[in-house]
Amino acid sequence: MAETHSLQDLQQPAVSSKVFVQRDYSSGTICKFQTKFPSELESRMDKQQFEETMQSLNNLYAEAEKLGGKSYLEGCLACLTAYTIFLCMETHYEKVLKKIAKYIKDQNEKIYAPRGLLLTDPIERGLRVVEITIFEDRSIGSGR
């Protein structure tokens, strides 16, 4: 019985609720998420950890959208090659998006999953929100 019970735990944790962290437009149209700690997560994790995650995410997105010599060079090169260069090469933005995906995966594994939370990559939600899924906490009173 205990076996099947823990198997169930592993396979289908029930979603208790979802928290959505919205975009912060105070700096303009750049991609930035609010770092305010949602009240629903208070029982699950500490504020500092969360704010650190959000800040890193914001920094990564800022890096993706940064206007600098490198991005201008890439833009000009792309224009000169009639954008065919992107058939072979990734844009800077996409490279950073991959980095972000890796970072979120890391964070999920190390910090969020042990607490029964799951961060969804904002790109999956059209860069509108950071969706945090709160799973039912079965560890309490289920004899795990």
């Binding site: 437009y25 201008y72 833009g75 954008y83 844009t91 998006l97 939600r125 509108r128 969706e131």
Partner: protein, 468 residues
């Protein structure tokens, strides 16, 4: 991933391309025809003469320029302008909850919801989009023709058959710039031809044989448009903002553009050479067939036109159903039979940046007609004559005019007449984008339970029509 997704993907892409060619891009074809007309005229009348008299480089240069114009036109039309995917149901519910808490009301729909945010010292109002169920980012706007919120919305260009937004503004600008060079080039050499051949034939004869008048008008309009957009780029404004006078000093002494860096060079660099963000709508590829809901699932959007049921009844339901039935009856092709279990999802091409706008799926709704099928085209909309292959498509254009405006659920008018659109007769305005209206059809007859079969049937029907 649904079964057979690989082949399904390619089939859908082919399908979407075919459907787009038939329904959504008549304006592009018209534009292509105009450009080609100029070039052909030029090549047949002036070029041989000039190649002999001056240098054979002239036709070569003209040809190269023309190819560049074509390339940028196609790029503008077929790239995602920066569509914002619709909110997932969970997100929408969460937002609603927050708004209800803020307003203290429940049940009925309150007045347009806005959020204020201070950007660079300017207070900007963020509006809530009832269709997409999101608070629009600053500078984004909902295009009623494409039925999507578009980031950094400039305008919906009927000639290009697409919205011009954050991701394709530079291609649009390069298109009109290169087109201006092309028209000036042709005009200059046509004049040269007239002058040179007037020595031999006489001035009036030479004048009659050349397409100078058409050239003249097109030069002025295109060059004017390029100039206007150059001004917009250098001041980092969108056509939308310029028309509304959002940042005009007439509104107030303290009114300034918070997005402009103040430096013309920087503004130009940002607009034209800045990083190109990837498309937000090609992330998932397929909607699973499980969803009984109408709203696009977790990804937010893969289908244009799958609008929420709350979209008001723009179209007379009976007439829409009738015309749709006509489409369905015309359908006999088994094209989609192997994919019958899957709703039609048009995904963007895997190529970076050049995502098909997936507008084709809008056509699933079929035409929305106010006239009985087979009625002759309204006389004003001459391009609409070329805009349809099947008679059932005819009435869209006459009908479209009536439907565009009621589509405003939100306060703002999303389709702004731009300088290039103003001269067009009304029929033309909507000609290139009948897709924007078919979504209304979808909402009027869309039954969640029969969604899949209806999808498949209507697409089959439209594919049949497209193969005519």
């Amino acid at each position: 991933m649904p079964q057979g997704s690989g082949s399904a993907l390619s089939n859908f892409q082919v399908l979407s391309f075919v459907l787009m060619l038939k329904w959504g891009y008549m304006k592009i074809l018209l534009m292509l025809c105009c450009c080609s007309f100029f070039i052909i005229c030029f090549y047949f009348t002036s070029c041989p003469f000039l190649a002999q008299q001056l240098t054979p480089i002239i036709p070569v240069l003209g040809g190269a320029l023309f190819l560049f114009v074509l390339g940028t036109l196609l790029r503008t039309s077929f790239s995602d302008p920066g569509v914002l995917p619709r909110a997932t149901p969970d997100e929408a519910a969460d937002l609603e909850r927050q708004i209800d808490v803020a307003n203290g009301t429940k049940g009925y729909r309150p007045p347009p919801r806005t959020k204020e945010v201070v950007i660079n010292g300017q207070t900007v109002k963020l509006k809530y989009c009832f269709t997409c169920k999101i608070f629009r980012p600053p500078r984004a706007s909902h295009c009623s023709l494409c039925d999507n919120c578009v980031e950094r919305f400039d305008h919906h260009c009927p000639w290009v058959g697409n919205c011009v937004g954050r991701r394709n503004y530079r291609f649009f600008y390069m298109f009109i710039l290169s087109l201006s060079f092309l028209t000036i080039f042709i005009f200059a050499f046509v004049i040269t031809h007239i002058i040179l051949s007037s020595y031999q034939k006489g001035f009036l004869t030479a004048l009659k044989e050349s397409p100078v008048v058409v050239c003249f008008f097109s030069v002025w309009s295109i060059v004017g448009l390029s100039g206007f957009h150059t001004y917009l780029i250098s001041s980092n404004q969108t056509t939308n903002e310029d028309i509304k006078g959002s940042w005009s000093s007439k509104r107030g002494k303290d009114n300034y553009n918070p997005y402009s860096s103040g430096n013309i060079f920087t503004n130009c660099c940002v607009a034209l050479c800045g990083p190109l963000p990837p498309s937000l709508i090609d992330r998932r590829g397929f909607i699973e067939a499980d969803a009984p809901q109408m709203a696009p699932p977790t990804n937010g959007i893969t289908m244009y036109g799958a609008t929420q049921s709350q979209q008001s009844h723009m179209c007379d339901q009976d007439q829409c159903i009738q015309s749709t039935k006509y489409v369905l009856q015309a359908a006999t092709t088994p094209l989609l039979q192997q994919h019958s279990s899957e709703p039609v999802i048009i995904t963007s091409s895997p190529e970076n940046g050049t995502s098909l706008p997936a507008r084709a799926s809008l056509t699933l709704g079929g035409p929305c007609s106010s006239l009985p099928l087979g009625q002759p085209t309204p006389p004003t909309s001459t391009p609409s004559l070329s805009c349809h292959e099947a008679t059932d498509m005819l009435p869209i254009h006459g009908h479209a005019l009536n439907h565009t405006h009621p589509l405003q659920e939100q306060a703002a008018l999303h389709h702004y007449l731009t300088p290039e659109e103003v001269p067009s007769p009304p029929g033309m305005l909507h000609c290139g984008s009948p897709l924007g209206h078919s979504h209304t059809v979808q909402t009027s007859f869309y039954n969640p339970a029969s969604q899949d079969s209806l999808h498949e049937d209507s697409v089959r029907g439209l594919v049949k029509l497209s193969s005519v």
